[in-house]
């Protein structure tokens, strides 16, 4: 399913900007930003991209908050690793965080499998208890004033200012590795996300694939720690896919879009956090992602809120227009007669105020388009165009009634409907008029 082209499409958005920035930064300080800042920015961008991609998988698999449990456990891993090794360089601490994240997910699996505790409660328990344990460890370390313990709290809310260029390279490498892993198992992961039962029936190791996906999410959560912090890193995994989903119905597009949104949010958040000293990075990254998500949810053409409302309104308008024309035709005695506009609207129905409003607006539309014309005595009559539209609508309704009543075969003959030929040619003539089994609704009718 995934060819070299798709793979390139996944890696290029990270690789190219990172490469360009690193090369540029190595020789010429750009726009007053230091080499260090640029490298960190590039690293965080890579993290955002990879988190968006990975998160898409988690959201499609309907486990958006599994990452949250892993994320909250990382604090325990960071504190424990510091306590065990006494070192506070980023790779060491992140290794501890990864161990804790995977352990949290294993506990989650154990609780789901061997206790009566339900999924949501198990997730909440892992979140609360692991975070509390991490907090106790970190607070204990801080209270004892152990050397070099000052920076541990930066993992809570994210603090990119403390990153060195080397750290950023580590993050970039980890992100690229995650993307490559995802690309390698893309087909399997997507298959399981869409139809786990089918995958199982087809003989795929669903449990193994699920475990790989969850591990990938845990890795991404850990890699995202310096950018967003333990409390909010889950947003990096959840928000970009949700935003991307609004724009597309294609899986590949959704992945790339989510990655791009994650990248943009991460860069915007880091940039914003440099505006004022003391601003944590995580919340700003999350707010950037949330802004993109809000725009997507409202304005995305097909799934967005506005689009849905527009389609609903259009549909409701067509309903109202059709009802009015139907009543006009009925009151006009099949064509030339005149009728009262109020009577038409009353008979067209409208149980609610909204429906009545819609009918009034549809009537205005009919007048505007000259489908109805004024007649003598304040009455109205159908114009030739309106009459044609009303008759066509009447014909369609009658045809559909006939379909429900007598089945497709009968309706075809009576209304010369444009239907595909039946599957079974010999039956056409003989069974014309009787109801096929596919339409039981009208079968027992009068």
């Amino acid at each position: 399913m995934i060819g070299p082209a798709t793979l390139a499409a996944m890696v290029v958005p990270v690789g190219v900007p990172v490469g360009v920035l690193v090369v540029l930064a190595a020789y010429t300080p750009v726009a007053g930003l230091s080499y260090n800042t640029l490298v960190v920015l590039a690293g965080v961008a890579a993290v955002g991209f990879a988190a968006g991609l990975t998160g898409t998988l988690a959201v499609l698999r309907k486990r958006p908050l599994a990452g949250d449990a892993a994320a909250h456990a990382t604090l325990l891993g960071v504190g424990g690793m510091f306590l065990a090794t006494g070192r506070r360089d980023l790779p060491t601490l992140l290794a501890g965080a990864l161990v804790a994240a995977v352990a949290a997910l294993l506990v989650l699996v154990f609780l789901r499998r061997f206790t009566r505790t339900r999924d949501d409660a198990a997730t909440a328990i892992v979140i609360g208890v692991s975070f509390g344990a991490g907090l106790a460890v970190v607070a204990g370390i801080t209270a004892r004033g152990l050397p070099g313990s000052g920076g541990l709290a930066q993992f809570l809310l994210g603090h990119t200012a403390a990153l060195t260029a080397r750290d950023a390279v580590v993050l970039t490498a980890a992100s690229l590795a995650a993307v490559a892993l995802l690309a390698a198992g893309f087909k399997e992961a997507v298959m399981v996300a869409f139809d786990a039962d089918f995958a199982r029936a087809a003989g795929w190791p669903v449990g193994l694939i699920d475990a790989a996906v969850v591990t990938l999410v845990a890795v991404m959560v850990v890699v995202g720690l310096p950018a967003a912090g333990a409390v909010l890193v889950t947003a990096l995994v959840v928000i970009p896919p949700v935003a991307a989903r609004q724009w597309t119905d294609r899986v590949g597009t959704m992945f790339l879009l989510a990655g791009t949104i994650g990248l943009a949010a991460a860069v915007a958040g880091v940039a914003a956090s440099t505006l004022r000293p003391g601003l944590a990075t995580g919340p700003l990254v999350v707010l950037s992602a949330a802004a993109i998500c809000a725009v997507s949810v409202v304005f995305a053409p097909r799934r967005g809120w506005l689009g849905r409302r527009w389609r609903e309104a259009t549909l409701a308008g067509r309903w109202a227009r059709g009802r009015l024309l139907e009543e006009c035709l009925a009151l006009a005695d099949g064509g030339g007669g005149a009728f009262d506009s109020r009577l038409v609207r009353d008979r067209a129905g409208g149980d609610t105020a909204a429906a009545r409003r819609r009918l009034r607006r549809a009537w205005d539309g009919l007048v505007w388009q000259a489908a109805v014309q004024p007649a003598a005595g304040g009455l109205w009559m159908l114009s030739s165009a309106g009459l044609a539209e009303a008759r066509e609508r009447h014909r369609r309704i009658a045809a559909w009634r006939a379909v429900l009543d007598a089945g497709l075969e009968g309706a075809r003959d009576r209304f010369s409907l444009d239907l595909p030929p039946p599957d079974d040619p010999p039956a056409t003539g003989a069974q014309s008029g009787s109801a096929p089994a596919a339409f039981p609704a009208g079968g027992g009718g009068p």
Partner: protein, 450 residues
């Protein structure tokens, strides 16, 4: 960003202050445990998580307007933020079809982030620190005292007690509705209950408990206080009012123990409370009387042990039956080969208790052993006969189910099957069905209802 001591640590204060702090924790824990039990039963635990995070901006705005932490404005702001979270999640679900957990994930991270940024921006004007928000200000609560009838009482204790009273009255008054709605919302609606109002009431109570919890243990750990005691109680007891009571007890105990542990280890009280909660939950997972791992393993082991014993007796009985008179002459039958370690142990046990005598590879059932074996074989053959008559199975398919059912068929069931059969009828393989043994005292081994 790390304050060296700040709001994290147990202040080294006098015993009276510790007493007040523990009392505050206990009261907060009680209200969290109470609302948490309903939340968990309704499968809304993650909503508790979301609310616990999302109240932050409401609290910040409340502090900004009201000028200090605590007080009705902060409370109102937090409740508004909690209800906003729920509303936004449901709206995302209804408007663009977003799954509720993904929607909650989007909403609560966004609101929490907005709260943190707001705190940072107004930090100069307000005495509020993002880390105090995360971890609570329990340690300092004991220093903010007000005088009530001449006694200096922490303000946090008073507000927590007020919230506990309000939550208890609110939920107590609507308890039956709450339980009905929790277990079957559709039936509750059909029965004419105001389900939406009942749910809103619960969510308001959750928000209230969360806000007081936030002051004590911080935004994130409120999740633990809401969910862990209730989940523990669900493992221990199976009636809703018992779940609520046990949850409250677990929460209060964990609060006090956690506070003491934090004092002893000189670390964050909120963190230690969560750790103690986790330990209690883990203990319940392992040792709960019926649902615990130990109890379930013991049940499985005792069943396997009984099956192994009964199988061994039945094998010898069948061997003796096949040998007929020859067995009586030889003083027994050759010892069958044990099919598992468990059966070997069962054989040794039965020999030790005198049900089977074993003389140099020749085994023989004692009277008691034969009685038990006959019950098993009788169950087996009766079940084969019943299956042969009713299930229309081929004759070679009758044995496996009977091999399983023979250990579970009670005396009453055996009698009912026998009543269908003609006198002297044999099983489908043509073998005689042993008569029912009189059960002296404890009854036959397979006569239990399990």
């Amino acid at each position: 960003m790390t304050p060296p001591g700040g709001c994290w640590l147990v202040a080294d204060a006098g015993l009276a202050l510790h007493g007040w702090s523990m009392a505050t924790v206990a009261v907060v824990a009680a209200s969290c445990g109470l609302v948490g039990s309903l939340l968990v039963v309704r499968r809304m635990s993650l909503l508790g998580d979301a609310i616990a995070h999302a109240v932050l901006p409401g609290i910040v705005v409340g502090v900004l307007v009201g000028g200090r932490l605590g007080g009705p404005l902060v409370f109102a702001g937090a409740v508004a933020a909690a209800l906003l979270t729920v509303w936004l999640t449901r709206t995302l679900h209804a408007a663009v079809g977003l799954a509720e957990d993904a929607g909650a994930g989007v909403v609560f991270t966004t609101l929490f982030a907005a709260g943190v940024v707001l705190v940072t921006l107004v930090a100069a004007r307000v005495d509020l620190d993002p880390e105090c928000v995360l971890f609570g200000v329990l340690e300092l609560a004991a220093f903010d005292l007000v005088s009530v009838a001449g006694i200096a009482v922490p303000r946090a204790f008073l507000s927590a007690a007020a919230v506990l009273a309000a939550v208890a009255v609110l939920l107590g008054a609507t308890w039956r509705w709450q339980v009905f709605t929790a277990f079957d919302p559709a039936a509750a609606r059909a029965a004419g209950l105001p389900v939406t109002t009942v749910t809103t009431l619960l969510l308001t109570a959750v928000a209230a408990a969360t806000v007081t919890g936030f002051e004590a243990v911080g935004a994130v750990l409120v999740v633990a206080m809401l969910v862990v005691p209730a989940a523990t109680a669900e493992l221990l007891v199976h009636r809703m009012h018992q779940v609520a009571a046990v949850a409250v007890g677990v929460a209060v105990a964990a609060g006090c123990l956690g506070w003491l542990a934090a004092w002893a280890a000189n670390t964050s009280a909120a963190g230690m409370i969560a750790v103690v909660l986790g330990a209690i939950y883990a203990a319940a997972v392992v040792f709960a009387p019926t649902d615990g791992l130990v109890a379930r393993a013991a049940r499985a082991a005792s069943l396997a042990w009984r099956v192994a014993r009964e199988d061994w007796l039945a094998r010898i009985w069948r061997a003796e039956e096949a040998a007929g008179q020859a067995a009586a002459g030889a003083g027994g039958v050759p010892r069958p080969r044990p099919r598992s370690v468990l059966e070997r142990a069962a054989a040794a046990w039965l020999r030790l208790t005198g049900r089977v005598s074993d003389r140099r590879g020749t085994v023989r059932l004692s009277a008691a052993g034969a009685r038990e074996a006959e019950t098993v074989v009788r169950s087996h053959r009766l079940w084969e006969a019943w299956l042969g008559r009713h299930a229309e199975l081929p004759i070679d398919h009758l044995h496996p189910p009977a091999e399983w059912v023979e250990h579970h068929l009670g005396a009453a069931m055996r009698e009912r099957i026998e009543s269908e059969m003609a006198a002297g009828e044999v099983d489908p393989h043509g073998r005689e069905i042993p008569p029912e043994m009189p059960s002296p005292g404890g009854g036959p081994p397979s006569g239990s209802s399990r």
